[in-house]
């Protein structure tokens, strides 16, 4: 079997006395959409932050393409090809949409202080290229018309998309999506599902954390279920829906498996 793109081994993370992530072994094969679900407080966001480098695990390791990246700093992780979005949209509000996406080009460009100050030709070229690529991404996502508007003026759903575009601008191999459907209505969620599928078709592996079951079941190839920091189930969506442990954790002990699934 081909080596997974991302793997965590025996990942542990404590907060004071609470164990938020306990011995988690997650594998994300290349080219799939994998979802991580679980009730509130299950440790999904902590797991996310551990992978993205925002926090460091107390035990265990994170491997990307077989190489350990445990406790690497977020900017180094982005440089490797792992991009992430945030639970609450974190755009650079005072910058235009285009500028936001151009920041996404940062890990794929190089000109530094000196080249910037002296406005050297390689800086011009790089800027032109970045701008063109950013505009192409915006075009692709139907956001071209907003390119020169200040990001904070956009409606919420569009801001979400801009954050996507920005993450895609980093040309990631792996995209970490933290509750991408949060705050979206069903039409927007459906659009989002289509977008994620399209992204995956282009070769970007996606790891999605979300509560929205319809989104998760529709688009994921595999689902990983967390409860109280531990994995309780893993497999294709249909199988997870029928898993008694998962049902118990979400709905309580009294509920029988749903016959409609």
């Amino acid at each position: 079997m081909a080596e997974p793109l991302l793997a965590t081994r025996h990942l542990h993370r404590f907060f004071g006395g609470l164990c938020a992530v306990k011995d988690v072994n997650l594998e994300v094969p290349r080219g799939v959409i994998k979802a991580v679900i679980g009730p509130n407080g299950a440790g999904k966001t902590t797991l996310f932050n551990l992978i993205a480098g925002t926090i460091a695990p107390h035990k265990g390791e994170v491997l990307f393409e077989g190489r350990p990246i445990t406790a690497w700093k977020p900017h180094a992780i982005a440089g490797l090809g792992i991009a992430r979005t945030f639970q609450t949209t974190r755009l650079f509000g005072h910058m235009t949409v285009l500028e936001n996406v151009m920041v996404g080009r940062h890990p794929r460009t190089r000109c530094g202080f000196l080249a910037g100050m002296l406005d050297l030709p390689q800086a011009w070229r790089e800027e032109r290229e970045s701008k063109a690529k950013a505009l192409a991404i915006l075009e692709d996502m139907g956001l071209r018309e907003y390119a020169h508007q200040q990001a904070s003026y956009l409606p919420f759903g569009r801001q979400r998309l801009v954050e996507f575009a920005r993450a895609l601008a980093t040309e990631p191999a792996l995209l970490l999506l933290d509750e991408p459907a949060a705050g979206l209505n069903i039409y927007e969620t459906r659009e989002l599902a289509g977008l994620i599928l399209r992204i995956c078709e282009r070769g970007v592996t996606c790891l999605v954390v979300d509560h929205d079951m319809s989104l998760v079941m529709d688009i994921s190839d595999e689902v990983f279920v967390l409860d109280q920091g531990r994995k309780i189930a893993e497999g294709p969506p249909r199988q997870i829906q029928r898993d008694p442990e998962v049902i118990r954790v979400y709905l309580g002990d009294d509920c029988a498996p749903d016959p409609q699934s």
Partner: protein, 355 residues
Amino acid sequence: MRFARYLPVIAAAALVVLLQVALSAADATYYMTQLTMSTYYVLVVIGLCLLMGYAGQVSLGHAGFFAIGGYTSAVLTTCNLVAWRDTAVIGGCRSLGLVVERQDLYGHTILCFSAWPAFFAAMLAAGLIAVLIGLPVIRLKGHYLAMATLGFGLIIYRIVLGAKWFGQADGISNVPPFPLFAGLQVNGRPAFRVENYYIAWTVVLAAMVLAINLVHSRVGRALRSIHQDEEAAHSLGVNTYRYKVCTFVFSALLAAAGGVLLTHYNGSIGPSEATVLKSVRYVAIVAVGGMGNLWGVLLMGMLLNFLSLRGVFGTYDDAVFGGILIGIMLFAPQGLLRAPAWRRVLHWLPGRRHG
């Protein structure tokens, strides 16, 4: 069009020339002395504007870097190395032209460093110290960073005030003029007024061009992103720590350059250039000019420094700057020129997109 960003530079240059012509015609060239001095102070606030407005880091100790620049250059160009004239090191320096002989105030011949090596030494010192201080301190946030930079400024002040090498309370005087090239020199004497006015403005406008380029570049964008949401910037591949330290060092170098040039212009430097009040003054100017607004900061820097140097504020000098800080922070935190009433007036000017 890319070159739109340089239009204000050209406009400023034109104004500078106009002003000079007007003053010369009105036989009021003595104003140029204070204008020139203000210009060198503006170098400090340009760097501080990049640090505070773009990278979002406060520094209450920038007068310290100004002093490092000025004092280093002053010491090197006034220390008498005659006692060591026969050593290999000094002999080598002499043959390289780094050390020269000149006449001091009393007609004695003394041996000291010439201005250019002193300048580079000053920049090196400021840069090294900025790295040394910046590396541990930039990790701090908010009032911790403010206090750390304040502490740094205080240490520099204590050193220049207390050490004999730096002349203690009297500072260092008899600093020679700084010969640039083609016969131009940084010299405060009346005969050189016009020449120095242009030298100062050339330096400042060059610094503005560098700053404007930086702001419009990939780095400038990264800095703005750091300022607006550091964690998001970090997750997008921006090495936030390194960029903040680099900006800190660059702003320190600008401040030191201002220090060197002003010291040679005035022919002296004293501990009053390293006080906390001076640092606060620079912060106040950046605040009132608008945190990310280079031209606003330049304008306010010129205006306030000029008024202060001409004594318009009298004994209330420091109080004025303190009051400005309070006023701006309370009523116009984006800077005076960005207060809503002004915005309508000013928004047609080019190159003002950045906020």
